[in-house]
Symmetry: C2
Subunit: 412 residues, 2 copies
C-alpha cells in the first residue's frame, strides 16, 4: 500500500441519469469521509462543465442526514453533462485540480466518461500532479465493457417490466396494435428486459421484441404483426430506439421529409405505427417510456441500489489505498443464486467500447428474446421494498454550498 | 319501493380503461350477489360488441376470491369497446336481454356510454321489456357533466404528479427544453394535475402548462419558452394532447405533410419540440405518458379506488330498489375536509356532454394552472397505501366461463 496521499476529493456525474446514480455518489462521499487524508469533499456541478467553469460545491458542508435521502433520489444531485472533453480542456482541468488541491477524482458515468477520466489521469501524470482517478460505472443502457451488468440497468429493467405488464392490461381492453418504445440506440438490453413481463406465453405481451442486434426488415415486420393479430386479435410489441437493417445501416425513424424538406421527426414507436397503418388496414398506437425509465423512483431495484452504492464506496476505498486509473466492475459468480462481486479494470479497457446483447439471448427465427435471458435479468430487477403512503413522492435536493473560485474565468 | 324485479344481471365496461374501472365492476357484482332477486351475474365481453355477438361470461362461476384481486387490477377485466351504438343495433341488444332474462343492466363508461345506456333503456321501455338500467361513471378525462370529479381521474392525476416530479429530476441533470404530453383531447383536467408536482415555485416543474381551455398561440409559446429558459437554463412543460388556437380551431400536431402528402403524425409533445427546434436554437425532447397514465398500478389513488367501488355498488343497490335510467354522481361537500357523497342524475343529462376545466383554474396571463386548483385535485390523488416487495407486479385475470349462446349469429 502506498503512503496516504493527502488532499481534497472531487466527484462528478456525467451522461444520462439513472434511478440510482446518486447512490454511487453517496457511497463515494460516505467512504471518503472515513479517511482523514481526504480533506474537503467537493462536487462538480454538471460534471466536466462545472470543473471547467470552476463551479464546485463543498459537499462537506451539507447536513449529513441529507445523504440517505439523496441516495434514493433518482437522477444526478450534482447535475450532469454530455461534454466531449478535448485536449484543449485538459490544462484547465488540471489548473482547477491544483487550485483546489484535488488529489482524488471520481467520475460516475458511461464509456465516454471513462474516456474522460482516463484523459484527465494522463495529463496529471504528464504534468507531475500526483492524484488518484477512479471511474464509477453507470448507464441504463447496460453496454459498458468488462462487466456483467451496469449500475442503473436493473432499475430501468424493473420499470420496463412493470410498464409492459400494466400496458398489456390496457392493450387487452381495446385490443389495438401497439408498440412500447424503450431506450437503447445501439443495444437492446433495455427492450429485452420486457421479456420478463411475459408470464403466459400464449397471451401475454410482449408479443414481439425488436432490438438493434437483430436485423430489421419491414416486410418481415408486417408479416409478424399480421401473425400475432390473427392469433390474438391484438398486438403489443416492444422496440428499442434504434434498429438496423440487414445491411447494417441504421433504420431512421422515417425516410419521409416534411414540406420544408426536413427529415420527419418521431421515434421508432411512431415509425412502426406508420408502417402498420400504411401497409395493414389497422389502427396502431405507441407508448414512449422516455425519461421515466431512468427516473420513476417507485421502480428502483434493490440490488441495483445496493450495488450502485457499493461501486461508489469501493472507488473511494481503493483510491485511498493507492489504486488509480481503474473503473469498478460488477461481476456475477457462477451458480444458481445471484451473487455480484466487484473487480477493477483499466479505464482504457472501457473507454469508448460497447457491449452488445449476447447473441445467445437474441432469437434468430422470430423477433423475441430467449427464455435464458430471464436468469440474467430477473435478479437485477427485483424491487426495493418500499411502502407508498397517501402523500406524493418526495425527492431530495442538496442545499448547495459553492466553493470560492480561485482562478480567472474560463474562456474556452 | 317497487316490488323486487326478478332476473339476471349484465354488466359491461366501455371506452378508455382506467386504473380503477374494475373496482366499479366488482362493487356492482358484490352488491348484486347480496340480492336474491338477481339470479345470474353476467359480464359482456368488450361491452356492446360482446352483447351484439352474444359473447357473455357467467361471472357467478368465478371463484369468489378473485374479486379482491380484480378490484385493484387496472384496465377492464371484461374488455372494452368504442362502438358507437346505432338504432339498428338496439333490437339485437333487446333480443339478447330477452334470451338471457336480463332485467338489470349496468354500463360503466363515459358520456358516450351513458348515451348508449339511455338508448338501451328507451328501446326496452318501447318494447315493454321491464328492466333497470344504470350508468356507472368512469373516465380519466374527468369531463362528465353533473359530477365534481370522475372515477379514474384521481389515479391518473396521481400518475401525472409522480411522473412530473421524477421527470423534473431528470430534467435538472441535463437541462434541456422538455415537454410531457398528457391525455385530454378536449379538456385539460389531466395536464392540470401536474400543477401539484410543483413545490418550489421558483424552480420546480411544470414551468409551463398548456391546456385546451386556454387559446394557444405559437408566437406567445416561443416567448414563454425563452423566458423560462433564460431564467432557469432549462424548461419542463406539460401539454394536453389537444390544443386550440385563439379562433377556436384545433391545433393539429403539425401542418406538415410527408412525401406522400399525408399529414405528419406525432403528438402535441412532438409538435412543441418541433416549434422549439425550428424557432429557437435549442434542442428539445418530449415524454409521452401514454397508456401508463391510466394503467400504472403503483399510482392508484386511495379515494379513487374506494369511490369507484362505491359507485358500482350503489348502482346495483339503487337498481334493486327500483331506480332506472340514472347515472351515479360524485359530489363534494363544502368544507375544509374532503368529503365525497353520491347522488343520481338522469342518463340524458350526461349523454354527450363535456365538462371543461373551470375558468377560475386557468390562468389568463400565463400558461399555468391557478394555485386554487390544488385544493380540488390533491384529495383526489392521494395514494393507496401499498408495500412494493421484490417481486414483479402481479395483475389478476378472470377465468372466463362463457354463457351458452341462444340466438342465431349476429350479422350487422
Amino acid at each position: 500500500m502506498s503512503e496516504a496521499l493527502k488532499g481534497n476529493m472531487l466527484i462528478g456525474q456525467s451522461g444520462g441519469p439513472t434511478m440510482v446514480i446518486n447512490a454511487s455518489l453517496v457511497g463515494a462521499i460516505e467512504e471518503a469521509l472515513r479517511h482523514p487524508e481526504i480533506g474537503r469533499v467537493y462536487g462538480a456541478v454538471n460534471g466536466m462543465e462545472g470543473i471547467l467553469a470552476e463551479n464546485l460545491l463543498d459537499l462537506t458542508h451539507e447536513d449529513r442526514s441529507i445523504w440517505e435521502k439523496i441516495k434514493v433520489t433518482p437522477s444526478t444531485a450534482l447535475g450532469s453533462c454530455r461534454l466531449k472533453v478535448k485536449d484543449k480542456h485538459l490544462e484547465r482541468v488540471l489548473d482547477v485540480f491544483r487550485a483546489h488541491a484535488i488529489r482524488y477524482f471520481f467520475y460516475i458515468g458511461g464509456n465516454d466518461s471513462m474516456h474522460t477520466a482516463h484523459q484527465v489521469l494522463q495529463v496529471a501524470e504528464a504534468e507531475g500532479w500526483e492524484m488518484r482517478v477512479m471511474g464509477i460505472p453507470k448507464t441504463i443502457d447496460n453496454d459498458l465493457a468488462e462487466v456483467d451488468h451496469c449500475p442503473g440497468y436493473g432499475s430501468a429493467a424493473r420499470f420496463v417490466i412493470t410498464a409492459t405488464k400494466c400496458i398489456d392490461k390496457d392493450n387487452q381492453a381495446l385490443h389495438p396494435v401497439q408498440f412500447i418504445e424503450a431506450m437503447g440506440r445501439d443495444t437492446g438490453w433495455i427492450a429485452a428486459a420486457s421479456r420478463a413481463a411475459r408470464e403466459d406465453p400464449e397471451q401475454d405481451a410482449p408479443h414481439l421484441i425488436y432490438v438493434p442486434e437483430r436485423p430489421f426488415d419491414e416486410d418481415c415486420f408486417i408479416e409478424e404483426v399480421k401473425e400475432v393479430y390473427a392469433r390474438l386479435g391484438r398486438v403489443l410489441g416492444v422496440v428499442s430506439e434504434g434498429l438496423r437493417r440487414p445491411d447494417g445501416t441504421q433504420v431512421t425513424a422515417s425516410t419521409k421529409v416534411d414540406a420544408f424538406g426536413h427529415a420527419q421527426l418521431g421515434g421508432m414507436g411512431q415509425y412502426l405505427v406508420n408502417l402498420v397503418e400504411e401497409r395493414l388496414d389497422l389502427k396502431a398506437r405507441w407508448d414512449k417510456l422516455g425519461t421515466m425509465q431512468r427516473s420513476f423512483a417507485y421502480c428502483m431495484s434493490e440490488s441495483d441500489l445496493a450495488e450502485s452504492y457499493e461501486v461508489g464506496r469501493l472507488a473511494a476505498w481503493h483510491a485511498t489505498r493507492g489504486v488509480t486509473g481503474k473503473m469498478l466492475t460488477l461481476l456475477r459468480e457462477p451458480g444458481d443464486e445471484y451473487l455480484c462481486t466487484f473487480g477493477l479494470t483499466d479505464l482504457e479497457n472501457v473507454a469508448e467500447q460497447t457491449r452488445y446483447l449476447d447473441e445467445k439471448y437474441v432469437c434468430q427465427d422470430r423477433p423475441d428474446i430467449d427464455e435464458s435471458f430471464l436468469d440474467y435479468v430477473e435478479p437485477l430487477a427485483l424491487g426495493r421494498r418500499i411502502t407508498i403512503g397517501p402523500e406524493f413522492i418526495t425527492l431530495a435536493r442538496l442545499k448547495c454550498y459553492p466553493v470560492e473560485k480561485k482562478l480567472p474565468e474560463y474562456k474556452p
